[in-house]
Symmetry: C2
Subunit: 347 residues, 2 copies
Amino acid sequence: MLPTIAREAGAIVMIDQRKLPKEEVYVRCKSAPEVARAIKTMVIRGAPAIGVAAAMGIALGVRNSKATGTQKLAAEFHKICELMAATRPTAVNLFWAIDRMRRTFAAAAQAGESVEQIKDRLDNEAQAIHDDDVASCRALGAFGAEIVPAEAHILTHCNAGALATAGYGTALGGIRGAIEQGKRAAVFADETRPFLQGARLTAWELLRDGIETTVITDNMAGALMHRRRVDLVVVGADRIAANGDTANKIGTYGVAVLAREHQIPFYVAAPRSTIDLDTPSGGDIPIEERSAREVTHVGPAQLAPDGALVWNPAFDITPHHLIAGIITECGILRAPYTKSLRQAKSL
Amino acid sequence: MLPTIAREAGAIVMIDQRKLPKEEVYVRCKSAPEVARAIKTMVIRGAPAIGVAAAMGIALGVRNSKATGTQKLAAEFHKICELMAATRPTAVNLFWAIDRMRRTFAAAAQAGESVEQIKDRLDNEAQAIHDDDVASCRALGAFGAEIVPAEAHILTHCNAGALATAGYGTALGGIRGAIEQGKRAAVFADETRPFLQGARLTAWELLRDGIETTVITDNMAGALMHRRRVDLVVVGADRIAANGDTANKIGTYGVAVLAREHQIPFYVAAPRSTIDLDTPSGGDIPIEERSAREVTHVGPAQLAPDGALVWNPAFDITPHHLIAGIITECGILRAPYTKSLRQAKSL
C-alpha cells in the first residue's frame, strides 16, 4: 500500500505530494517545525493525512525535547501543539488529532509518568492515530462500495485517496472497496485547480492500482454529466459541520450543484474525525485563502498577467441538502444529518 | 484599440494569443495555409476573430494565385475555402465568413470580372467582414451596457473580448460600453482551462484598459456566487442554434447552472453572424475535441501522469432556458428565442 507518511528513526518520512506525478521524492522531517512546514506547504495534504502528520510531528517534537521534568516538557508540548494548529485552518482532523495528543499527554502527566514514559505514550498515540486512520478507511471503503453500481463511472474532485489519508483513502477507498467486491469502476478525476490534486495525485494513485482514470479540467464536469457519463459523484471532506454542511476542496460545491441538476447522487466520504459537532453550519467553518501565485503560475509558466488580482480560497462549502449521504467507517449517514452525525460521533 | 488581426502588404498579421500575456509577439501569415494553421493552432481564436481570419486568409490565398483565368482561380478559391472550413468545427462564424466570400466570388465571376477585379473584390469583402465585426461589437457593446448595474461585479468565462473579435469584443464589449457610459464595473475572469483564455487573455486586455480584473480558477465560480460577489454573468458564443441553445467555451454550461442556482442573470453576447438558424438545437452543434496534451501539460509542466486518459471537448452547450438574453448588435434578444433569433437574423 502507498506509504503516504511513516515513522523512521528520528524522523517522519512523507512522499512529497508537490512533486508527483513526475517525481517520487520522499521528505524526511527531523523536527516538529519541519513537519509543520511540510503541512503548511502541502508536502502532505488531505484532511486525515494532515491529522496524522500533526500527531506524528508532535510526538517527534516531544521525543527531541531535552527537558528533564514533566513541567518543562508540558510547556514545550503545548508550544508544539500551537505550532501544528497554526498550519492550516479548515481541516478539522488537524485539531482533532492535536486534541487527542493533548488528552494523552494530560492523562500520562496526571498518572505521574516519567518524561520517557510520556514520550513513549505520545509515540504510541500518534502511531494509533495513523493505524486507526487506515482501519477507518478500510471500513469506510467497504460501506462506500455499497453505493457503487456493478458497472460505474464515478466522478471525484481533488484527491481523497491513499495520499490524503494514512492509506487506502476515503472517496477512493470506496472505489477500491467496490473493485475488491468485483464491481467494475472507472474514474473521472477533476484536475482540481489550482493545486491539481486530481490530475497529479488521484490519477497517479489510481493508475498505480490499475484503475481506469480519465482526467478532465474542472469546468468539463457539467458537460460530462449532461452526456450521462457519470453515475455517481464521491468526494472527501475537510470538515463536516453539525448540520451536514461540508467543507471540501474548492470546486466541490459547483460539482454538487451540477450533480443535483443531473440527478446524479453526490456522496461525501470521510472518517468520523472529520465531523465537527462544535461547528453548527458551513458558514461557521473558517476557509483558508492561499497565495495568489498558486493561481497565477503553474510551475515556471506564468498564466495571468502582472497586475491581475486573484482570489484563492482553498475550500468551499457544500450545503447538506445537496449531499445524498456521508460515508463513514460506521456506515452511511443520511439526512437529517443533525441527528445522524451526532449519533455517529457518539459511537 | 487592440490589433487582433490586420492586413499588411502580402501578409495577415495576428497577435500570437498562445504567447500572451508574457510575450506580445506578432505572427505574419504569408499564405492561406499559414492562416489556416494559425486558426487551427489557436494563434487566433474566438468565433468572430476566426471568421475574420478565414476571410482574410481566403483573400490572401486568392491574391497569391498565379491563375490567369477565372475558372482556374475558382478552383483554387474553392480549395482554399475547404482548407479554412476544416480548421475548426464549432464556431459558425467561420462558415458564415467563408459563405460570404463564396457569394462574393460567385457574384464577381458571374458579372464577368477579371482575375484582378475578383482579387480586389475578395480583399474588400474580407476587410468589410473585419470592419463590420468591429462595428457590430461597438453596437453590441452599447446594448450590453444597458444590463450592467451602475456598480457591477461581472463574471465572464473564456475571452469574448477584443482578442476574440476584430476589436472591442462582445461580452467584454458590453463591459467596455458600460464603463464608457460612466458605470463602475469590475470583472471576475474564470481562468478557463485548459487553454487559459481567461487568465491569459481576458485579464491582459482588461488590465490594458485599466479595468479591475480578478482571476479565479474555474471551480471557484460557485463559491464566489454563493458569497453574493457576482451581479451578472456575460459570456460570448461560438454558435447559437435556432432555439437559443448556445455553444461556447467548455465550462460555460456549468457557470450558467450556477448562475441560475444563485439567481444571477446569465447573458450571452454575440454578433448575428454567430446565430445559426440551420442548426435546430444545441445537440446538433458539432463539438470539437482537442488534444490530450492541452490538459496534461501547462507549458513544460506535466500535470497528469503518463497513462491517464483525457477528455478534452473545447466547447459545451448551454440550453436556452438558462439564458436571460442574447446581446447582439441589433439589441438584446429574449425568449422565446426561436422567434427573436429568426427576427434578428432577418434584419
